[in-house]
Amino acid sequence: MTATFELEPPPSRNNPHRSVESVRTVAIAGNPNSGKSTLFNALTGLRQKVGNYPGVTVEKKIGRFRGSHGEPLDLLDLPGTYSLQTRSPDEAIARDALLGRLADTPQPDVILCVVDATNLERNLYLVAQMAELGLPLVVGLNMIDLAEGNGMAIHAARLSKGLGCPVIPCVASQSKGLVELRQAITRQLDGQAPHRAPLPKPLEEAALTLGEVLVREQELDPRFALAEALLLITATGHAVANLSGNPRALLERARQTVNEAGLDRLSAAIHARYAWVHQLAAEAVTSRTGDGASISDRLDAWLTHKIWGWVFFLGVMTLMFFMVFQLAEIPMDWIQAGQTGLINWVQSVMPAGDFRDLLTSGIISGVGTVVTFLPQILILFFFIGLLEDTGYLARAAFIIDRLMSRVGLHGKSFVPMLSSFACAIPGIMATRTIDNPKDRLATILVAPLVSCPARLPVYSLMIAVLLPMGFSSWDKAGIMLAMYLFSIIAAFGMAWVFRKTLFKGERSLFLLEMPPYRRPSLGVTVQRMWERSVVFLRRAGTIILSVSVIIWALSTYPKPANPDATPAQTLAGSAAGKLGHIFEPLIKPLGYDWKVGVGIISSFAAREVFVGTMSVMYSVQNGDENLPALRKAMLAEKHPNGAPVFTPLVCIGLMVYYVLAMQCLSTVAVVRRETNSWKWPLFQIGYMSLLAWAGAFLVFQIGHLFGFS
């Protein structure tokens, strides 16, 4: 699978006949914030392929680069992790990839472990764990410039001697040290395993004994015997559930031996590793003149201050929101204008017919929908990149976590939720900054409840129908505001419900490293914007386009027998029209007739389509621009028994419905993409539709009980 690349590098000059199969794999691992992704990008450039590991939400990135002899190498980007002792399926990916347990992921030949030089000791802990894997290792001592700037001198050769593997100082954001890294990697392709932390004797013996059995009975790679055995012995709770029979019994015995030796099996290995790396760091750091954290501390005294912290937080968030909401409007208008122009052009050069309709109403509109999201995605990811790289995102999460945790969300859920007011698509893509998969999923599930601008046309129409002409724009704004508040309550309420049901008993752990403030790198940010856009266009775009075409077909076919049929008759006779009739019993308790049903079905792909469908149904030309005419037609609409359809309760109910319903195909496609499964988007459609129906039902029925109509 990994052999197919978008940009295949030219064949090696040294060895042009080298076959694709012989490409060796280097895995890049490191703590979050260590600059691992930056180094990955610096090494591979744009020669990367983004995919997914089966069954989990983490992305699988493989890039191609060259070793020092020009030989092509695959670089496998592992998810950032603090430890191999993982606590969720997502975190387990890094461990399983390293241990060669993943079916369609190549077993790495070398591990490149990225270390933040400014936070040496804590980062070396992961190196100590990597060292136990028995694979050749290269340590990239990243951000060495910042460490030196802090007055810290690190003797790389001494550290290298202690670890038993190359230690290469580098600055990933400035592409410094890459040549040396490539040399070290090439050298290590057939290199030796590094040294490892001395473990307490009883623990080491128990692990080696258990490891031998695993190699014998479970065909484990002998290199990983110690690491696997240690992971099992030191695991908490359910982590060993898939082990049975003899190995299980042996594991129990190994744990018992360790306990009897007076060791705590949960902590003994961790202490031993930290003791080792503490020693190594102490020997390697030759001077520590300045106090590196002091600038960050002085900034934090202001930026997390009880009053000024909030002022700055609100300022940053307002600016970001304004940019995503307002600045994005400009290119979005261009895209829309281009789309209209293209449609007009096609209509002028092609004869009328089904194919032309497919092009204009299906394909061009579908592509247009996809592309319109790009400006918002680009701007939001520019800001997120800036916030992440400077270190402010961690502070923002620190400030707001207390409020978010009340409903079971995470401090880092704030930016995605805020962005969802502009559009749920970038909002859901922004949940990537949340490390904990449960917190991330909870945020994804509730983000589309936040009221986005696509609902505005629906609100405007229903408010126009609801209020007689005499009402001021203040009254209209009041209703609009009520809908926004309602959407916030719904989002936070559902987050709370999910925390109490779906994720019940799962302790939401907030352990956040606060990195020192750093200067952001424009190149890194731009690359990230580019990467997100490509992933969105390729993965979500295809789904959005195909469903746009399906919806167009549903509302076009079958064609009416009478060629002079009005658009309203055509729509009524189409599959969508028939579906409206079929669904009528379902929406009758909400006070809707089949025409509203057609509106809901046709706007499944995008909420704002509802207004367009209504104007077709009521034969109003350009209904979205000619609101009074559409309003008049809708007010005149009667049920078969003569009662008006669009009573105040129906209008309010419809607005409530559109606040709560997942009437946005693009969001479905993005959730599918971000959770790497159909399970969660389908669940989301299900719960939101149910919620929307129940909301509209309650408005209509309870309103009736109180004598309203």
Partner: protein
């Protein structure tokens, strides 16, 4: 020389006081994760600050900053370190 050591919880410790970790009373997995993040019995740390709403708190340990919620900090036992 007799010395009275008063063990207290990390949550609520004043900013800037030098502390020494004396024990943990946390679920196994949370305990283990804290150890992996560099906390350990005998380790020195200081409270850098509390968030504007009083929770979470930021800790300085092993030369870096870690923020954690008070729920977890309740389960970390400390004593004043001189």
């Amino acid at each position: 020389m007799t010395q009275t050591i008063v063990t207290q919880k990390l949550a609520g410790q004043p900013v800037g006081r030098r502390l020494k970790i004396t024990g943990f009373a946390l679920p196994d997995d949370v305990h283990q994760r804290l150890l992996e993040m560099g906390l350990a019995i005998g380790m020195e740390c200081t409270v850098a600050r509390y968030a504007p709403l009083g929770d979470p708190m930021e800790l300085k340990i092993r030369g870096y900053s870690l923020s954690l919620r008070l729920t977890e900090a309740e389960g970390v036992h400390v004593e004043a370190h001189h």
